[in-house]
């Protein structure tokens, strides 16, 4: 898995990420290779699901796009403007176009502020461009996320459940009318019935406001439900990307197959996960040469150690970074 390569990029995308590299200082002057040459794009109105296990770099990628982590190399282009070049006021201004929803909804809200003030924070910072964001508009947004009711705005976050707090976070992001919404494990901390409410809500909001979303999750079933396209990541690289139903029906990368086979109680036509993946996740400080998945892959050959696979088309809009992909039935 290598995941370098850009064959899968499209023309005229809203957000383009090119060769993104994010490295952190590790212990004893080592370097943690969190994200290593990831490229992808997002079209307007599209939901891209990013899936992978801990250490795959999915959260770091999202935070780097938000400019919450500094990219070591690469470019993040939103509507033709490279965000990595921006500093100071220009950067703050560009950030308005992107918003992020985090995993822990309770921790995402300042406990000492009222909901009304939290939701209209963006307007307080940037002003109200066309005067349309009156108090009515805040109520309307709260209503859109399912928190109608007169006194919601006056209350403080601790008076709400986890699911309701996540709705408040979504409202806060929507007020900014973002071009891209990045959601980092937004339903992982919620109970299954509440999780379903939030997933349905996101789908409704996407249809209503034409949201463009990057949905990061470790949960393959959740990602399948919400996404138009899915990108599978492993140890800082892209393994595979395809339209959702195509990827779940015909996973071509050995790691994608292992992930799907690991889901308890699935009905997919796959061998047991124990035959598809072995060993432990290598350290991101010293990742394997060539394909990073080769140390755990049953199909690995000498070529995988010597040569990094490049993303290549195996089907319609279906790209895989693997020297030995599983044949895709179309």
């Amino acid at each position: 898995m290598a995941g370098t390569g850009k064959a899968h990029l499209r023309d005229g995308a809203t957000l383009e990420v090119h060769d993104l590299v994010v490295e952190f200082p590790g212990p004893k002057k080592s370097v943690v290779h969190a994200v290593s040459g990831v490229s992808f794009d997002l079209n307007t109105g599209e939901t891209l699901g990013v899936v992978g296990e801990s250490g795959c770099g999915k959260t770091t990628t999202g935070r780097a796009i938000m400019q919450l982590e500094e990219a070591t190399a690469g470019s993040i282009i939103l509507r033709g403007q490279d965000l990595c070049d921006l500093r100071g006021p220009a950067l703050r201004s560009a950030r308005r176009a992107m918003q992020m929803i985090f995993q822990d909804p309770v921790s995402s809200l300042n406990p000492s502020r009222r909901v009304k003030d939290i939701v209209r924070e963006g307007l307080d910072i940037w002003g109200d461009p066309d005067g349309s964001f009156s108090a009515d508009r805040i109520d309307e947004i709260l209503d859109a996320v399912g928190l109608g009711g007169a006194d919601v705005g006056e209350r403080r976050p601790h008076e709400f459940s986890g699911g309701q707090c996540q709705r408040i976070c979504i409202a806060r992001a929507l007020v900014m009318d973002p071009e891209v919404l990045i959601l980092d494990e937004p339903v992982s901390a919620l109970d299954v019935s509440v999780q379903a409410q939030i997933l349905n809500l996101l789908q409704q909001l996407k249809d209503r406001f034409g949201l463009t979303m990057m949905f990061i999750s470790h949960d393959l079933a959740v990602v399948k439900n919400i996404s138009d396209r899915v990108m599978v990541m492993y140890l800082g690289k892209v393994c595979e990307t395809a339209p959702t139903d195509q990827l779940y029906a015909n996973p071509a990368h050995p790691y994608s197959r292992a992930l799907l086979a690991s889901i308890p109680g699935h009905n997919l036509d796959l061998p047991p996960a124990s035959e598809l993946i072995s060993g432990e996740l290598p350290s991101p400080i010293d990742p394997p040469s060539g394909c990073r998945f080769r140390t755990r892959c049953p199909a690995a050959t000498d070529r995988c150690a010597a040569e990094e696979p490049i993303l290549q088309a195996v089907g319609d809009d279906h790209y895989v970074a693997c020297h030995h992909p599983v044949a895709v039935s179309l």
């Binding site: 703050r92 950030r95 000492s112 910072i125 299954v192 019935s193 999780q195 308890p264």
Partner: protein, 616 residues
């Protein structure tokens, strides 16, 4: 609010209020001139004892001690107040900026703090006092400078952890300036801890003045410290001269400390250490032959300071050797409390358990402690959600596996060591010889969970209790751990009870399942049967709300409106009634009786298989 702060807080607050009044209006009060010499005016004798003539007595020149003490209030409060404001403001700003900006600024601030805390303050005081005299401004500047590091330190710590919170990231993503983030997101959240610290700092300033007066370094006006120091000379014959100002100062310091503590308890509520008692009610009903764990009509009541909670209400199940039971529910449903009720481990509270819990033939509620401990140690293995906290970080893996065998004397030391090696191999840990000598932090999350499983298996228990064993793990690791547990169950004929919120885990790895809602088992039966043919409306809603790989993407999921009822005062009738799409009046009036068969039972007045009811 009033109740939480307690009586002492309010008494202290009133005391401080009286002091503030005296400080502000002392010149309007009908009290004598504190400097008037009573022996000359005839108002007071030398060393007169306290009485109606002069409440606190008089000193060697007949000066009225009461008015002197009252006059000492103003310098004490003025000094405390100004010093607290100055050092609190400067310290808070330095601390919040150090915690938020980090980097060079933080290193400079922390270095200054470290140096100033190591600096002998008394030397500085003497030096400054010698050079600049004893005006009150000198004391204010001096005490303020000395007070800053304390504030800076607590605010820096609080800001560091606040800066990690997502709402700070969210504000940055919103395009907020650093100053705005500090002002809006950080400062309001450090205000209460700073305020609580300020009251304690206030008391320290008052004490410090007293201490300085003792070595002859005080203000150029009447202060409590001076009064105490003067009275000290006559302590043998006229103790009231030193004792009364001391008592007033002591009371003041105590009052400020109590108010500070009270405010701190609002930030971090102190744990109320209730005595923990386990009480068993009712009588034991022996289980059927062959079940490893047999639970019948289990009812658990927690008596907490906040009220009486009943997280387990009439729960029954049994698990035979080699079988697995899934206990499924959402957070707060009481599923974990069922496991805790089996082993008798609860958070601090008095607990009453009623009904029957039998493990390997032992009554776990009413047997002697030694019997219960032996059963826990030898017949039950426990696996918890977070393998990192389940393992002792400073002990080697090998020692932790050997421990239960030595404690219960099931094996000699050498046998235990051999067995530990064998166990690590069985749970799939590579290079077991080496792992035995390693510490938990040297293992990955999956390997740690394997190690806790090895510990649980050490004494070959008949029953394995697993509480969300894979929730903290990645999906490929989860698959490995669940397969491992499943294999151990099959090979060793253990009974496995798996508590989880994840229906997919239950579907893939259990023989039977108990669906828990608001402390009750609402449906119980074979797993395959329940997924194919769920009867309780909650079970149906739960299954339909689960994102499913068999559904195409963008399928709308079923949701359950509303929230589960509080377990402190649960509603009468069916506890799911308020959220149920098929609710009838009967559901709200009467608790549903258990129906269905012994194999598949459910508590619902209108289960899925019933005739469609007319909506009333």
């Amino acid at each position: 609010m009033r109740k939480r702060l307690g009586l002492l807080f309010w008494v202290s607050a009133v005391y401080i209020g009286v002091l503030v009044f005296l400080a502000l209006f002392r010149d309007l009060l009908p009290i004598r001139d504190p400097d008037a010499l009573g022996i000359r005016t005839g108002d007071c004798r030398q060393f007169q004892d306290p009485g109606w003539n002069s409440y606190f007595g008089c000193d060697n020149l007949g000066r009225d001690l009461f008015s002197q003490v009252v006059h000492g209030v103003r310098p004490a409060l003025f000094l405390g107040f100004t010093v607290t404001i100055v050092s609190g403001t400067v310290g808070t700003l330095l601390g919040v900026l150090a915690g938020f900006l980090r980097g060079v600024f933080d290193r400079v601030v922390t270095t200054i703090i470290d140096i100033s805390l190591a600096f002998p303050a008394i030397v500085l005081l003497i030096a400054v006092r010698a050079s600049f005299g004893n005006g009150i401004v000198v004391f204010i500047v001096l005490f303020s400078v000395l007070g800053i590091p304390g504030y800076a330190r607590i605010v820096r710590g609080a800001s560091l952890s606040l800066s990690e919170r997502e709402f700070v990231d969210a504000a940055a993503a919103m395009g907020a300036t650093n100053w705005r983030i500090v002002r809006r997101e950080l400062l309001p959240n450090v205000f209460l801890p700073v305020l609580s610290f300020a009251f304690i700092g206030f008391a320290v300033v008052i004490l410090a003045e007293g201490g300085l007066a003792f070595i002859g370094l005080s203000l150029d006006q009447i202060t409590w410290g001076k009064l105490i120091n003067d009275g000290r000379v006559e302590i043998r014959d006229h103790p009231h001269l030193a004792l009364i100002p001391s008592t007033v100062m002591f009371g003041t310091v105590l009052a400020f400390n109590l108010v500070g503590d009270g405010l701190r308890s609002l930030v971090a509520p102190r744990e109320v250490a209730t005595a923990r008692r386990l009480i068993a009610e009712g009588s034991h009903q022996p289980g059927e032959e062959g079940a490893v764990v047999h639970v019948r009509n289990l009812r658990t009541v927690l008596h907490t300071p906040g009220g009486t909670v009943e997280p387990v209400d009439d729960v029954s199940f049994s698990v035979a050797p080699g079988e697995s039971l899934g206990i499924v529910g959402e957070s707060g449903s009481g599923k974990t409390m069922i496991l805790r009720s089996i082993v008798g481990a609860f958070p601090l509270a008095d607990v009453t358990r009623g009904g029957t819990v039998e493990v390997a033939g032992v009554d776990m509620l009413r047997s002697p402690d030694a019997t219960i401990r032996r059963t826990l140690g030898t017949e039950i293995g426990m696996i918890s959600q977070n393998p990192l906290t389940a393992l002792n970080p400073v002990r080697r893996i090998g020692d932790q596996i050997i421990e239960p065998m030595l404690v219960h004397g099931t094996r000699s030391k050498q046998e235990a060591r051999d067995r530990a090696l064998e166990l690590l191999e069985q749970v799939g840990i590579p290079a077991p010889e080496q792992r035995l000598r390693e510490y938990p932090h040297q293992l990955s999350g999956g390997m740690r969970q394997r190690a806790t499983i090895a510990i649980a298996l050490a004494n070959e228990p008949q029953l394995l209790l697993a509480d969300e064993p894979t929730t903290a793990l990645d999906v490929t690791v989860q698959d490995q751990i669940l397969r491992l547990l499943d294999g151990l169950r099959a090979d060793r004929g253990m009974a496995l009870v798996l508590v989880t919120h994840d229906l997919a885990v239950v579907k893939g790895f259990t023989d039977s399942v108990a669906i828990v809602y608001a402390g009750q088992v609402v449906e119980y039966g074979p797993t395959a049967e329940i997924f194919a043919n769920p009867q309780h409306r909650y079970t149906v809603a739960l299954i339909r709300s689960m994102p499913n790989l068999d559904l195409p993407s963008h399928s709308e999921l079923a949701t359950i409106e509303g929230a589960p009822p509080s377990l402190i005062d649960p509603p009468t009738g069916c506890r799911f009634a308020d959220r149920c799409p098929a609710v009838q009046q009967k559901c709200r009036d009467e608790s549903p009786v258990r129906s269905g068969t012994d194999a598949h039972s459910y508590s619902c007045w209108f289960p899925m298989s019933a005739q469609p009811v007319e909506v009333s």
